[in-house]
């Protein structure tokens, strides 16, 4: 029994058992998981990976170059294009490095529950590599906004995610401008509701939980002003415009603001000239504080909203129990959330303490990433990927950081268990089994990877395979290894 619980801890709550992990977890499975709940447990070494600021500075430098005109300082069009191309290339390479570093970390970390917990929240607050503007930010977003905050409070995590340059760019808030500001008038630009809508619909209360279109617009207005510093933003605000008519003290103030936007290039800033003036009314509550405080105040209230607790509790129960979790499980998580004021450490403990999540049969069908990480933990990264992670991810249809929408990757069986997907998984398993070390039998591998989760039927099929390769293939494709 203890061994079964240990196997459940390592596979369902963790990322799949590394050698010896089931035994490590078996003496006190829940305690083993709870020991991973610590402020830095989900952190990942950044190594040579670029920060969001470094990525943005490089981009802004390449794209913000003033064009050469009328003998003024500037660079030729060719030089601009060349350096823009190079930056794009470096950023694309950087994404590949992010994917590999993240895979290596997940395959090796002893804090596998913390990693799963992180990935849940990273998917909840999806920033996907949708276009050139955001490609370089997806990795830094996870490392800078999500990982450090997954065991703090939901409101802190929500704030860190919302105000990170990655999210501001991905959901267009960086270019959203208060409609009644001078900048909007001058630039013929205006409000972009995207981020406000997704925060309400995806990140906090959930769709159909009582907010209205008017709430979205008001919230979007409160979010105006929050953008990413840099020469482009400076031009947007009109601080570098050639035809700007300014004089006296006003000019000095603008000058200082322009210097700050350059100095803090690549960081999130609040720019009053872009912010919609006046108080905001969201969900019947009026926010009349200074413009810079409005969005954060609204976010705090959203984090404390019972609909948010319900939404988060439902998603967590779906992730750890089953696609259709019992109401009792959701209720327990919701209560833990409300009682603790959205303390994510408390919530993580409540998830571990859900008896509903410790059922003997694995019910959650692994996403391709989960399958690959668990295989890498059990069989090694070389066998799992054969040195070509990108091709493997692509073939199994889940490119990391490539979620199809802000809603993130689906977390249900139907989305991942299509017939072609199974065929692809089989082809993959077949190639992995040929790369696996011969130091152990398929039965030993099965035992190490799944412990007592492996059914008698699976054990027999693996033991009776006619070759080691076939045995490994059957183990990897077994119903229990395909699920968690």
């Amino acid at each position: 029994m203890a061994r079964l619980q240990g196997a459940i801890a390592a596979t369902r709550f963790g990322m799949g058992a590394r050698p010896g992990e089931i035994a490590d977890a078996a003496s006190d499975p829940r305690g083993w998981l709870k020991a991973q709940i610590a402020p830095n447990a989900a952190m990942m070494p950044a190594g040579d990976l670029l920060s969001a600021k470094e990525v943005l500075e490089a981009r802004q430098e390449a794209y913000g170059m003033a064009p050469a005109a009328k003998g003024q300082d500037g660079v030729s069009a060719e030089a601009r294009q060349g350096s823009q191309k190079q930056v794009q290339r470096e950023i694309r390479d950087g994404l590949q490095e992010e994917i590999e570093a993240r895979g290596r970390h997940a395959a090796a970390t002893p804090n596998a529950f913390a990693e799963r917990w992180h990935r849940f929240w990273a998917n909840h607050f999806t920033v996907a590599a949708r276009n050139a503007q955001v490609v370089g930010l997806v990795g830094p977003f996870e490392r800078e906004a999500i990982r450090p905050n997954v065991f703090s409070s939901f409101s802190k995590l929500l704030g860190a995610a919302t105000f990170h340059p990655g999210m501001l760019v991905y959901l267009d808030a960086a270019r959203s401008i208060g409609p009644s500001t001078q900048v909007a008038e001058r630039r013929d630009a205006g409000l972009n509701e995207n981020l406000a809508r997704e925060i309400l619909e995806l990140h906090t209360m959930g769709v159909g939980s009582g907010y209205t279109q008017a709430d979205i617009v008001e919230f979007a207005k409160a979010l105006t002003g929050w953008t990413v510093a840099g020469p482009q933003t400076a031009r947007l605000v009109g601080l570098r415009g050639q035809n700007q008519r300014t004089k006296g003290g006003q000019q000095r103030a603008r000058q200082q603001a322009a210097e700050r936007l350059t100095r803090d290039s690549g960081e999130t800033v609040f720019l009053e000239p872009l912010h919609e003036p006046g108080p905001r009314k969201v969900l019947s509550k009026t926010y009349s504080g200074p413009g810079a405080d409005q969005a954060a105040a609204i976010l705090d209230d959203l984090a404390a909203n019972r609909a948010t607790a319900q939404h988060v509790a439902t998603k967590l129960a779906r992730h750890f129990v089953s696609d259709t979790p019992p109401a009792s499980a959701i209720a327990k998580l919701e209560a833990a959330y409300m009682k603790s004021g959205g303390d994510l450490s408390v919530l993580a403990r409540a998830v571990i303490d859900l008896d509903e999540a410790w059922g003997e049969t694995p019910l959650k069908f692994k996403t391709p990433e989960e399958l690959l990480v668990s295989a890498a933990r059990a069989a090694g990264a070389q066998a799992t990927f054969g040195g070509a992670p990108r091709a493997v991810y692509t073939s199994l249809a889940q490119q990391p950081f490539g979620a199809p929408s802000p809603a993130g990757w689906p977390d249900d069986t139907a989305s991942w268990a299509g017939s072609d997907a199974i065929k692809k998984r089989l082809e993959w398993a077949n190639s992995v089994s040929r790369r696996m070390a011969r130091g152990e039998t398929p039965t030993q591998f099965l035992d190490r990877a799944l412990g007592e989760i492996a059914s008698e039927k699976t054990r027999q099929a693996v033991a009776r395979a006619e070759s080691a390769e076939q045995g490994f293939t059957l183990a990897l494709m077994s119903p229990e290894f395909q699920r968690r």
Partner: protein
């Protein structure tokens, strides 16, 4: 060497993956003098008693009447060869083939993987990281090299000697029909995976794949035997080709429907040996082939019209270099008391004795190296004399 290999790939007529190239430098005075050795591993445990039934054994019908091929070709000493292997029967008549019944390695458990690994690494109990053929290459009388025909470098050739290469007729390893059938069985009660896999393959195409498989077409298994053996012949027949080839033939685990399965597999193996002889050309005269399984199968029929994992098996020897037309070793008999653990054919000859005899007499290895380094501490498994 690269060119030679490429050419032979074209000869084999398949898309190819060449994993590594053995160095081609070779002294003109190669002690092999054109002699070749082919080691065929029949993975999954071939039923030696079904291949070569001893029809005059008084107990054979009581044990397995349903599994005896009534059309088997009588050879000698009361043995007959399954009728699906007419080429081998003809080779036996022309003294180009011989058999070693009741052959087994020193291993006495019944796990395919452990047994295959031990067979390939040449150890008694503990699997090592290198194979006996690789260790043999390290102590070869000259710069011999070996090629393996199969999707991955088998353990038998892994190790410190770089004089190995491997070649596979398929670029991407596809799951064999047998694996698909086992997976469908494993998914029997799975509401998600069973319909997904069935629909991916199409219920008809699954049946088709398995059927094609057993008929010598389609994915993996017997479908590849002819191409694999023919490719081995092409490699060895090159003027500067390797001295040794290893061929892995999968699909011998006949727990059910053994008669049908073996009919197809023996046919494919026999066709493969005929194709091998053709592709070797003149080289056939100087070639010795040995085909073995990791172990044999139960003497008695099981409940599914098949047999389960056993012990004593069979070695097939073929080639112009083989002193053929005879049975080698002893027949322990099929009386219940003579069986190993009252279920399996009692081993009479150690597989290492055959390997050592061939290495020494076909390609010139030193007896002492064979007893100590190639097969560690194996002096008590004496090399058979007079195989070639």
């Amino acid at each position: 060497m690269i060119q030679l290999n490429r050419r032979s790939l074209l000869l084999a007529g398949c898309a190819a993956t060449l994993v590594s190239i053995a160095p081609g430098a070779r002294a003109n005075t190669n002690p092999a003098q054109g002699r070749k050795l082919i080691v065929v591993i029949l993975r999954g445990a071939m039923d030696g008693v079904a291949a070569l039934p001893k029809l005059d054994d008084p107990d054979i019908r009581a044990h397995r009447a349903a599994l005896i091929d009534v059309k088997a070709t009588p050879l000698s000493n009361g043995f007959a060869l399954h009728s699906a292997m007419p080429t081998l029967a003809a080779m036996y008549a022309s003294k180009e083939a011989a058999f070693v019944p009741a052959l087994a390695g020193p291993y006495r458990e019944r796990s395919h993987f452990e047994a295959q690994d031990l067979l390939e690494c040449g150890e008694v109990a503990k699997v090592s990281a290198d194979g006996w053929l690789n260790r043999a290459l390290q102590r070869a009388p000259a710069a011999y090299s070996a090629v393996s025909i199969g999707p991955s470098q088998p353990l038998i050739l892994r190790g410190a000697s770089p004089n190995t290469s491997s070649w596979s007729p398929a670029v991407l390893p596809e799951a064999s029909g047998d694996t698909l059938a086992r997976l469908l069985d494993l998914y029997e009660n799975d509401p998600v995976l069973k319909p997904a896999l069935s629909s991916a393959l199409g219920a008809d195409s699954v049946a088709g794949a398995i059927k094609m498989d057993s008929m010598g077409g389609g994915r993996g298994g017997p479908a590849q035997y002819v191409a694999q053996l023919q490719a081995a012949g092409n490699f060895l027949a090159q003027p500067d080709g390797p001295e040794i080839a290893v061929v892995s033939l999968e699909g011998w685990d006949t727990h059910t429907q053994q008669n049908q399965m073996l009919q197809q597999r023996f046919t494919a193996l026999d066709n493969g040996i005929r194709a091998l002889k053709a592709s070797l050309g003149e080289t056939w005269k100087k070639t010795a082939l040995v085909a073995v399984s990791e172990f044999g199968r139960t003497v008695r029929v099981n409940g599914g019209g098949g047999t389960d994992h056993g012990t004593g098996g069979l070695a097939i020897l073929a080639g112009g270099a083989i002193k053929g037309g005879r049975m080698i070793g002893d027949w322990p008999g099929l009386k219940p008391a003579a069986l190993f653990e009252n279920r399996d054919l009692m081993p009479a000859v150690d597989a290492r004795q055959v390997f050592k005899g061939l290495l020494r007499d076909q390609l010139g290895w030193a007896q002492n190296d064979l007893d100590t380094s190639v097969f560690h501490d194996s002096a008590n498994a004496k090399a058979l004399t007079g195989l070639v």
